[in-house]
């Protein structure tokens, strides 16, 4: 049911772990629904993401989207990272089954939540970044 890329990122997830004294940390999801993602960002003075790590509770797709999302934002500026959408993560994984699309949304939200935390810590505003929902199922 999963693409080879999803299986690869699930079996050999990239960037699992934590960053101590991270520039920004974001946690999204809900254990009740079976997925929680936590993203750690290390951002330098030029607003370039030097490192990104994750921890995820969830299914195969949740782990794979977290792993792919971390790879996609490393080396990008904060502004560029904002453009890493759930669709981009899904495309990079050669697609997800329809019931798993919410996992990619979770990955996008987790990155945004970590960037929001970074902006708050720095006392800056990142243009185009909205305050993330802590729980992507809030509206349901």
């Amino acid at each position: 049911m999963y693409s080879e890329k999803v299986m690869d990122h699930f079996s050999n997830p990239r960037n699992v772990g934590e960053i101590e004294n991270a520039s920004g940390v974001g946690t999204v999801g809900n254990a009740k629904c079976g997925d929680i993602m936590r993203i750690f960002l290390d951002i330098d003075d030029n607003q370039v993401i030097k490192d990104c790590k994750f921890k995820t509770f969830g299914c195969g797709a949740a782990v794979a989207t977290s792993s792919m999302a971390t790879e996609m934002v490393i080396g990008k500026t904060v502004e560029e990272a904002l453009k890493v959408t759930n669709v981009a993560v899904m495309e990079a994984l050669d697609g997800l089954p329809p019931v798993k699309v919410h996992c990619s949304l979770l990955a996008e939200e987790a990155i945004h939540a970590a960037l929001w935390d970074y902006a708050e810590k720095k006392g800056i505003t990142i243009e185009g970044l909205k305050k993330p929902k802590n729980d992507i199922y809030d509206e349901e």
């Binding site: 299986m7 934590e18 009740k32 079976g34 921890k55 995820t56 509770f57 195969g60 199922y137």
Partner: protein
Amino acid sequence: MILVGKLIYLDNAATTKVYPEVFEAMQPYFMENYGNPSSIYGFAAKSKKAVDDARKTIADFLGAKENEIYFTGGGSESDNWALKAAVEGYKKKGNHIITSKIEHHAILHTCEYLEKNGYEVSYIDVDENGVIKLDELEKAIKPTTVLISVMFANNEIGTIQPIKEIGEIAKKHDVLFHTDAVQAYGHVPINVEELGIDMLSASGHKTGGPKGIGIMYLRNGLKIGSFIHGGAQERNRRAGTHNVPGIVGFGKATEIAGRTLQERAEKESRLRDRLIDQILERVPHARLNGHRTDRLPNNVNISFQFIEGESVLILLDQQGICASSGSACTSGSLDPSHVLLAIGLPHEIAHGSLRLTLSEETTEEDVDYVIENIEKNVNRLRSMSPLYDDFVKNQK
């Protein structure tokens, strides 16, 4: 995706391998004795005899009469038939059905359908082990109650229900009693007379028989009409040309199941207990779901905190192990198994459940390999789980 040259099949509650003797017994009914049992000529007599013989084997196995066994297309059809025909046949008495919260969807979704069509359904709670609350069940009976339908044994957590007691309650109040015995048939002894069962559903493929064949036991004298309309097969109660190879296969599987039941149950329950004990000993923050002793001999269901079931299944698959889970991700919705929620598990723990269902082919080596890999997989997934991180940090 299997990365190792192994296949350890521990999903026998989903379906089983057909016994070689079953396959052999079925073969002549495809190309040699392919006649329609309903035909008049001598050539079809062999097919008719094969169907009659299978019916007798199954009737004997259940302590029923031959003319109380009806062949169907499977367990789901039998469940649908039982519920829909019972409320129709007894509509003068009332429109109320009593069932449990942990039934298979073949029962629950049929009940929901009936509710939409004006019938009333009471869903009885189960305790933390998944055993139906008999006092609640009895209290739910009303003058309009026509049917109690409670499964013999649960497909997810393996708990065996107090069928005899339910049969007594039903009889006392003059209510029909149906049991979905799809998971129990061939694995635990069933005698419809002793247990006071009026209707029973079973399926061939959960006990070494073929897929696509089921039975319904209907006690003689019940006002249960036809569900599939057409020809006069099955004494006008179930139309459709007999699935002769399937019926023969189900009969053979029943014969084998009856002969081996005790020995098989002893072997499986010994390995089941080894799995349960070892996993609970080696993996912290894990719990057994279902009754510890009143459970199917081949069922193990364990929840692991802080991880999600589908991830465990994928890792096990890569290790050559077939298992299943009650997590939302395997059900295609956001909610985990209704059975695990009914026994009181919080959502996040229900998501981390794993079901292993053994067969007589399962060996001690298999079990040890599975235990080792489960421990490894759970540790690996916990090491990347933010929930586990938070738990460890909060403990400090």
